[in-house]
Symmetry: C2
Subunit: 218 residues, 2 copies
DNA sequence: CAATAGAATTAGGAGTGCCTAACTTTTGCT
DNA sequence: AGCAAAAGTTAGGCACTCCTAATTCTATTG
């Protein structure tokens, strides 16, 4: 039986493993807000359920089964987020936490109806791609804003969605998916960036810049 | 901490206790689909949490706290059912099971938005009254159709919502909340009723009649 | 290459919620 | 009243998911 915790674990592993890197116990513990001991136990269980391959003391990788499960939950999560914004008019900074619970409670039938009502959307409110029902996901060619050099131009394609305060800050600055931006200048001292965003300008710390991904022009 | 199980238990106790009758372990076990031993354990826990008053071997009653909790969950349940029918266009026979899970996962904020979107409705899709946010609920003056005598006229105010097959059957016959009906005749042999319903007529067994409540004329 | 810091695991325990089997209390009937 | 059936509770166990503390393994570094 796939429990709520199982789903949250494979989702976290999927995010952390990126292009198939092995995921450590401690990174999962930090992400999920539990102790390493708890993660160790869960990983043994997920290994037995063939959701992950566990190599003791060297981390885990998702199996095909685990990947499929993760993408299913991510699809749920992102469709629910968009639904909350579009249909219930909830502010985008609160929908992540809500979706974190609802993703486990919504049936396939309800999800299909939400998908239809929204017109089978491709992106969630924060710009993240929504996996297809069969588990395909568009991989974006993107760069994190804090990794950009002066002169870079592009469009914001995604922002990280888990910190409501950060999201409020980003919308105040106009740093939302779809916005055209360019990097004007980077302060030596603290890597603060001067950004042109549409017709406005703003200053962003590395911490804020790390929450923004852009797709570069050309 | 109030768990999902706690919520389902107090909701079941609320339904079974009616006008403050004491609720037996076995009736709860039957309603919830668990063993009497499981119910015994949970009731001890709910008693310690002051959600119920437990008198060993003589059943439980909700405390004020338990009643409030039950009505909160019932409000969630019914608003979610109506939302599923009205907004997601789900057939009314499937929404009960769905709401049974979602009632535990939806936040107060989402619930308030659902309530607003629906225009603060008073009744769920099956005609049951929706408690107010503060826990008031309209008590209906109603009779179960299988308790009626020939000649009785009235309006269907509520149908029981937990059996999808029954609900499909009722909608096929037109026995839905709001329908005007009258009892034409009762067969001696098996208590089958001949019912006039709008312009049509239909025959209902006691089992089906027990799923329909009417408010009598006058 | 051995000492050690840091990462991971194991041991032991808690709360939740379910089960079966055994036991106790209540109830209904003669 | 007395006995048996029915109803309810307790005992013992399991799966889940978390915790702290103790232990073991890996990786770094002098
Ligand atoms: Mn999210
Ligand atoms: Mn979640
Ligand atoms: Mn429920
Ligand atoms: Mn209902």
């Amino acid at each position: 039986m796939v429990t709520n915790a199982d789903q949250d674990y494979v989702k976290a592993i999927y995010r952390l493993q990126g292009q198939n890197r092995s995921v450590s116990t401690s990174s999962l513990a930090a992400t999920l807000g539990v102790t390493s001991a708890s993660v160790s136990g869960m990983l043994r269980k997920l290994d037995q359920a063939r959701m992950v391959n566990l190599r003791r003391y060297r981390g885990v990788r998702l199996t095909e089964r685990g990947r499929r499960t993760a993408l299913e939950v991510i699809r749920r999560h992102r469709l629910i987020e968009l639904f909350l914004v579009e249909i219930l008019r909830m502010p985008w900074e609160n929908v992540h936490g809500e979706a974190e619970r609802l993703e486990h409670a919504v049936s396939d039938e309800v999800l299909a109806r939400i998908d239809k009502l929204l017109g089978s959307p491709q992106r969630d409110p924060h710009g993240s791609p929504i996996p297809s029902p069969s588990g395909e996901i568009a991989l974006l060619d993107r760069v994190r804003l804090d990794q950009t050099a002066p002169g870079v131009r592009g469009t914001i394609c995604e922002v990280s969605d888990d910190d409501p305060e950060m999201l409020r800050h980003l919308s105040k600055l106009g740093l939302i998916p779809g916005a055209r931006i360019d990097v004007r200048e980077i302060q030596q001292i603290d890597e603060t960036r001067l950004i042109g965003c549409g017709k406005k300008r703003c200053t962003v710390s590395p911490k804020v810049a790390a929450a923004v991904w852009i797709s570069k022009d050309q």
